[in-house]
């Protein structure tokens, strides 16, 4: 974790503006991927509706902005609260469903929420909403570019999400999740309070995704439902943990960094449609060949070497 911090801080010191834009996106995906993995990798419940929580975080920012512009850290917390509540609600409605049905229900939920937002003209509906942002920000006497400010904030959120997912994995909560993934019926029969654990998972997952979404309007300046709720976020937040490895907290981070960077490079050099193609192809390839992702491959190699001796 400290290593991550050092890496990011050194990235911050480089002066190239675009790096911050790209870096913001990657950090955002780290949060989304880690958040997805809490429900998907640890508990085994595939959530196709990640975009909805992300977009809710973004739209709650827009909503409060229309009242009275608030500083972003508060907006992030608000976004987390909103998405967390929705996560809880979604969990309550859908967690009784088994695997495939749950996934489809999450997709359905995302579209219903999208339709609600499209029809809600206070936040701009399908016209979209503009957010004007300042060029620079003063923090404690230093004046920095706005995008650097966003980058730092996102970094904080990313570190927070990594810490959360790491902590969960090592505590009782994480073991509970793992039992749900492996055999829910047996877990239930052994006295694990599966419904409560699953609700915790969806709430945390949703809240983190909302946090990722909250600064988004400031980052991009113009928000519209079609892109905010787009399936692109959904597929990315599934592909990154799967490619990186769903079984540990490292997987989503690696997946997000690799896939995010790849997509940024592709967007800049080839075209922006191709990056989705890359995501799709990699997803299919990894799901078929390496179900446990890169982390799984490395673990297998380490284990083989250990056993070989």
């Amino acid at each position: 974790m400290l290593v991550g911090l050092v890496v990011y801080v050194s990235g911050h010191l480089l002066g190239i503006g675009y790096l911050f834009f790209a870096g913001y996106t990657i950090l955002q995906f780290i949060v989304l991927a880690s958040a997805w993995n809490i429900l998907g990798g640890y508990c085994g419940y595939v959530n196709f509706g990640s975009a909805a929580f992300f977009a809710l975080g973004a739209y709650s920012t827009v909503f409060f902005y229309k009242f009275n512009p608030l500083p972003i850290p508060i907006l992030i917390i608000l976004g987390a609260v909103v998405s967390g509540i929705v996560g809880f609600g979604m969990g309550y409605l859908t967690l009784r469903l088994r695997g495939a049905f749950f996934a489809i229900a999450t997709l359905a939920m995302a579209v219903v929420l999208q339709t609600l937002v499209v029809n809600w003209s206070y936040v701009g509906g399908s016209r979209g909403a503009y957010i004007v942002r300042a060029d620079t920000v003063d923090i404690g006497g230093y004046t920095i570019e706005y995008i650097e400010y966003l980058f730092l904030l996102m970094m904080a959120v990313a570190i927070l999400s990594i810490v959360i997912s790491r902590t969960i994995a090592r505590t009782q909560l994480g073991f509970g999740f793992a039992t749900i993934r492996d055999d829910e019926l047996a877990a239930e029969a052994s006295g694990v309070p599966t419904l409560r654990l699953k609700l915790i998972a969806t709430t945390i997952s949703g809240a983190l995704m909302g946090m990722a979404g909250a600064p988004f309007p400031y980052y991009i300046g113009y928000l519209q439902p079609a892109s905010a709720f787009g399936l692109e976020y959904g597929v990315n937040s599934i592909a990154m943990p799967i490619i990186g490895g769903t079984t540990s907290w490292v997987g989503p981070v690696i997946g997000a960094i690799l896939l995010g960077s790849l997509q940024q490079i592709a967007t800049v050099t080839i075209s922006s449609a191709v990056n989705l193609l890359i995501v799709g192809l990699l997803l299919v390839a990894f799901v078929v060949i390496a179900p446990n992702g890169l982390v799984g491959l490395i673990q297998d190699r380490l284990r083989a070497r250990r056993d070989g001796k």
């Binding site: 996934a103 489809i104 359905a108 799901v287």
Partner: protein, 291 residues
């Protein structure tokens, strides 16, 4: 709100015709999800593929799109069997269907859609056919031929599928494989082969559905996404594994969407199907005709 009877009748008729079309779109998923328990979330992408193939051949050679789709049936069937083979080898053997299988098809959805974007671009495409303009008029109610022909084709498709599933050995084997795979093996039928045939048929229906789609509306690659929810909503509503149920559910959904569109505005229409899906899943997961 003053509800004019004519408007209501037209909305209902439009809904019925639309529902027939939705049934054709869902037929494939009814087989793959209802009978084989394979969540082929990429089915709409294959439908769009069918639409584009119908479009190209219609533009180049001027052949009617439905005819094109019938000619393309074998190709789609083969594609279906191939995909099933990959799916089977990667997932069903290892018993990890749920997460990996979903992710696999999700990835496939994206790959197909993006390939179509790269090849064809995002312009809307539409076909020319003799029945796209005119409508029949019965009293104050319109029956646009553009919707009527696909609806009739869809009903024919359903009739054929139903006959196949109830009268032929392979068809009954497909129903059997969803109920009890071991018993099927004891009856000297290879369940893997049966499932492969079924999935092939499922994708083949996408070919026809694609042609119908491009008759009804202009198509561009991301149109498929709207159908993901509709298709699964209809499947679940109708009851998994029941073809008649799927037909009824499709009609119901068509009518509901049409009425919502007409009286409340088209921007609410997607919420209808997905919302209904959620309600069904929450209260009656077995659907109307479920086993």
């Amino acid at each position: 709100m003053d509800i004019s009877f004519d408007l209501l009748m037209n909305a209902i008729v439009a809904g019925l015709l639309l529902g027939g079309f939705y049934a054709a779109v869902t037929a494939g998923v009814s087989i793959s999800f209802g009978m084989l328990d394979i969540v082929n979330i990429a089915h709409p992408a294959f439908i769009i593929l069918g639409s584009y193939i119908a479009y190209i051949i219609n533009i180049e050679l001027g052949i009617d799109p439905i005819v094109v789709s019938i000619v393309m049936l074998p190709a789609f069937y083969v594609l279906g069997t191939f995909i099933y083979q990959v799916y089977y080898l990667s997932f069903e053997k290892r018993g990890q269907e749920s997460l990996r299988g979903l992710a696999f098809f999700f990835g496939l959805l994206f790959v197909t859609e993006v390939l179509l974007i790269l090849v064809f671009g995002v312009d809307y495409r539409y076909v020319e056919a003799s029945y796209i303009g005119p409508s029949l008029h019965l009293g104050n109610v319109d029956f646009p031929l553009r919707m009527l022909v696909p609806c009739i084709t869809a009903l024919v498709l359903f009739g054929l599928l139903h006959l196949f599933v109830t009268r032929t050995f392979t068809g009954r084997a497909i129903m059997a494989v969803s109920q009890d795979q071991l018993a099927l093996q004891l009856m000297a039928a290879d369940p893997i082969r049966i499932k492969r045939i079924a999935f092939g048929i499922s994708i083949a229906t996408a070919s026809i559905a694609g042609a119908l789609l491009i008759i009804i509306q202009p198509v561009e690659p991301s149109v498929g996404r709207e159908y993901i929810g509709r298709v699964f909503a209809i499947c679940v509503l109708g009851g998994l594994g029941s073809l008649p149920g799927t037909l009824v559910a499709a009609m119901l959904l068509g009518i509901m969407e049409s009425i919502t569109s007409t009286f409340y505005g088209p921007s609410w229409a997607p919420a209808v199907s997905f919302g209904f899906l959620l309600l069904t899943l929450a209260f009656r997961p077995a659907g109307l005709f479920g086993r």
